[in-house]
Amino acid sequence: MADGNAAMLLIAGLAAAAVVALAAALLLARRLRRSAPGAAPSMAAAGGDAERDLLAAFEDPLLVVRERRVLIANQAARDLLGAHIEGSDVRLAIRHPAAAEHLARDEDGGAPVRIELVGLGAVGRPWELLIAPLPGGSRLVRLVDQSQARAAEQMRVDFVANASHELRTPLATLIGFIETLQDEAAVDPATRQRFVAIMAGEAVRMRDLLDDLMSLSRIEADRFAAPRDTVDLRPLIEEVRDALKPSAEGRPIRIERGKSEALVAGDRGQLAQMLTNLVVNALKYGRPGSQVRVRLADAGPDLVSLSVIDRGEGIAADHIPRLTERFYRVDPGRSRQVGGTGLGLAIVKHIVLRHRGRLEIRSKVGEGTRVEIILPRAAQA
């Protein structure tokens, strides 16, 4: 009997243990289904730690979502959307209507979804949201920052607007003078001469601007086609100096060239244009009478350095990063006075880019400016 009792107790004990185990299993299953957020054991059971570590390695904000709840949010996602999002309703993280609609519905778990949305993190910030189904009914949500792409688009739009604006200013002047001249009685011959001279100046300004715009677009079109000819920079510098002598108004352009050859793989016409733009700038913004130096030097075994140095007022440091932007001017009034198109350095930058080179501008206010271009030497044949 004692044995029987013991057996009964044992069986009862086993049954009780089984019930507890069953209940625990049911609870666990239920919790997994409900995806109770942030509960470490359940995440581990679902392979959550591995997933979490994996997601942490990505810089894009990433979320794992199941049944409307955010299971895992990587650091980038928590930084963008707030630390509170893990474990909460996904709409608390992303409330944009297009996304909320997709994320709140679970049944369309099949196909990946791609949504453009604006205003996560900051008003107007553009994102692309990608939803991909994962095995087991969860979904991976990835956010890709589109600000860079949009900024490039915006730049193009701004460029067209700026170019039209730049052309309109001289055109308005021209039209004004033409209207005045049409009324012959009102203008004496001396004034007429003066007006015509101004008109000629404005017409030249428009032509220069159009020329610059066209060369800029040509250079941009060739951007990925590396130039093939071999160009010696030494005779090129002399040519440019000779061509600019008439407009230098007696100011010396001194050439300091190295001993060795300076052969680069390049487009001769473009390199001449680049140098011309730099020397013209130096002449325009240097002090009257001061000399402009063009220096050619080695910059390592495979590189040639070409610098244009002026003694002038120099440029404040905060302007320097923006100098190669189209139509960026440190002093708009002065640029207009000396006949700048606002495109000179933009053209230089694009020519340098096409030649796989580097452009460095250094300047000290009150002393002068030095623009250095470093180009790779031509491969020895």
């Binding site: 049911l26 609870l27 239920r30 919790r31 409900r34 109770a36 957020p37 942030g38 509960a39 470490a40 054991p41 359940s42 409307r68 709840r69 707030g82 630390a83 509170h84 999002i85 909460s88 309703d89 996904v90 709409r91 608390l92 993280a93 409330r95 944009h96 209507p97 909320a100 709140a104 604006v118 205003g119 008003v123």
Partner: protein, 254 residues
Amino acid sequence: MKTNFWPQWLKRNGPAGADPAGGLEEEVDTLRGTICEMGGLAEVAIRDAMEALVRRDHEAAAAVVRRDRKIDALETEIERRVVEIIGRRAPTETDLRDVVAALKIAGVVERIGDYAKNIAKRVASVEDSRIRPLSLLPEMARIAAEMVHDVLDAFAARDPKKAAAVCERDAAVDDFYNSIFRSLLTHMMENPHNITPATHLLFVARNLERIGDHATNVAEMVYFAATGEYLGDRHKGADTTSIGADAIGAGAHG
């Protein structure tokens, strides 16, 4: 380990099985999610309505008006959920504050959606007007939309600091409103033909100003739900700047 083992929703409501629909916390969370969805729709409505106004895009304006129905439907859903939660769960303290705040915020967000809809409805009426304040309106709208955006972020994160910061920007919206008001009045006096479009633009500015006020109201509710204190009380004790005082004033009668 043992404490973590039990799911969150089990803690409050006793053993599993007694509660087939899920826990209170989960229900409150879904409720808050639905409010965010509403808020997202309202934000987009403000943006689209202003874009339609600037571009004179009638179709886009009509779409804003159509989409307002979705906001209304969500408000109804929130009301139903709130009643259900209070009736079945009898929430207390934090949960009760959350639930009541949700009900109130849903009402305010619905109003914000209505103002956006009203702006969209006026797109047709301001046609051909060359009145300059139109350039001030988008800037005013940007600030108002930003307030709505930030207050919804504060709501989602239960962040009282961020909510308080929203109130401080209401003064800027009010300044814009006053400036636009004066300039539109001038236009009306200059030329009687301007009166109709200028009046509509004035209402647009008024709507934006109300959106700003409502964002402030939501901010006060978020603050209360998160801390259990009134935002106004906090200000009264402190050395109030003119900006802070304005924000309270605007909120009190809004």
